[in-house]
């Protein structure tokens, strides 16, 4: 058993492809089989055309910081030792946006518009969490 004490995702059939991809260091999202829209967060139907059919496609894992904030307040004691930590909204090159952490730089020094790439943080045997780090120049 892992000694990782922070919240973990409840993985089910709907979300398993995302987490299986992450274990293989691949950022995957759902692509609508009708209109081609790539969506996130994970959902049963396409928010653009309401089609349920989709396939899981790999993304480049690259994008730019859309908005960036730093948690100083401890809302969940599991994160008490982590504050201050960065949370960023990342605009992925393929279109979707996702919340994650930008790591590898001081939390307050993440700038909106900075290029980032995904990295996978293997926190347990079953779970790798996609985070982002500044793209090499």
């Amino acid at each position: 058993m892992s000694d990782y004490s922070k919240p973990l995702p409840d993985i089910d059939d709907e979300t398993r492809p995302f987490w299986d991809g992450a274990l293989r260091e691949e950022l995957r999202m759902q692509k609508c089989s009708r209109c081609g829209h790539i969506r996130y967060p994970i959902s049963r139907i396409c928010p653009d055309c309401l089609e349920p059919g989709h396939e899981w496609v790999p993304l480049s894992g690259r994008g730019e910081v859309y908005s960036s904030i730093v948690f100083h307040q401890v809302y969940d004691k599991a994160f008490a030792d982590d504050v201050p930590y960065n949370v960023s909204l990342v605009q992925l090159d393929e279109g979707p946006r996702m919340f994650s952490n930008v790591v590898g730089v001081p939390p307050s020094e993440v700038t909106v518009g900075a290029r980032v790439r995904v990295v996978f943080d293997r926190v347990t045997e079953e779970v790798a969490i996609p985070r982002f780090t500044p793209e090499e120049q």
Binding site: R39, Y40, Q73, V87, R97
Partner: protein, 296 residues
């Protein structure tokens, strides 16, 4: 993810990056609300603050500081709504609901401008259209302020300034009493009490009755009240206007009740009961204004 402060912090970060909005400009909202609360004997936080005090307060979710956040309060608010006819005979001077609008979205991250809560503008446009008014008709505003950044977004959506210009707009006391557009004259959620925005309605009514005491906006005839809920997804706006009571009319100009009622109809005045009636029944003022023209 992550809680109310974080959602608003995301909006603040994006607004700052796009438009150069500063933490000191957010502070102007907190300072104005606190100044107004200091004139409100019912306010919870009455000690005036400065921009420097705001800047010295600790971060909660950066870029938002403690003094960017509203209070957490227990309490109750009562608003009595009746017809314009009945209101004329009530003990207190009537305040009319001249326009109202609501809007919401079910989409969050899927929408690129989600952080900007664009549905707020739809709610405001509907309220302006029903009242036949625009931002230039508003004398005082009570804008839902869960965090300081929210006031900036409302100012833009309501057409008081263009998108991105709310930071400079709030400088130099413009939203303080005595300024061009007094905002949250009782102190707002930031300093009066957090009653989920209901006290904004109460303060709007007080201002239009001329019962604001030390914080009264002289000659206020129209007040904009806005609200938001369900994280960032649901918004509403209401234009309140000063009504005329039967008693006041008899005292001042001797108008009959029929004449008074006709006058109210002509002005497009509506008491809240009208809000449940079809929008088509509203008789807008003839002033050719709309929020969409102003809002950009």
């Amino acid at each position: 993810m992550m809680g109310a402060a974080a959602n608003s912090a995301v909006a603040a970060s994006r607004h700052m990056a796009l438009y150069g909005t500063t933490s000191e400009q957010l502070a102007e909202v907190a300072v104005a609300c606190r100044k107004h609360a200091s004139m409100n004997p019912d306010a919870v936080m009455r000690e005036p603050i400065t921009v420097a005090d705001h800047q010295a307060s600790r971060f909660i979710v950066e870029p938002l500081r403690l003094l960017d956040c509203c209070l957490i309060s227990d309490g109750g608010v009562c608003v009595i709504v009746t017809s314009a006819e009945r209101a004329k005979d009530a003990k207190q001077p009537p305040v009319l609901i001249s326009g109202m609008g609501q809007a919401y979205t079910t989409r969050t991250l899927e929408r690129e401008d989600w952080w900007y809560v664009p549905h707020q503008k739809e709610a405001l446009d509907r309220a302006y259209a029903m009242a036949g008014m625009g931002p230039q008709d508003v004398d005082v505003a009570q804008l839902y302020d869960n965090f300081t950044i929210s006031v900036l977004l409302w100012l833009e959506h309501a057409g008081f300034c263009k998108p991105g210009e709310s930071g400079p707009f709030v400088e130099n006391g413009r939203i303080q009493l005595g300024g061009e557009l007094p905002v949250n004259t009782a102190g707002g959620n930031l300093s009066e009490s957090y009653m989920e925005g209901w006290l904004h309605i109460v303060e709007g009514v007080r201002q239009l009755r001329g019962q604001g005491g030390a914080r009264q906006v002289q000659g206020a005839e129209t007040c904009l009240v806005t609200g938001r809920g369900m994280t960032l997804n649901c918004s509403n706006a209401m234009l309140l206007t000063k009504g005329r009571s039967e008693r006041a009319c008899e005292r001042t100009d001797g108008q009959s009740s029929a004449a008074n009622a006709a006058d109210e109809r002509q002005r497009g005045g509506r008491v809240s009961e009208r809000a449940s009636e079809p929008m088509g029944r509203a008789a807008p003022r003839t002033r050719p204004t709309s929020a969409s023209e102003e809002g950009g």
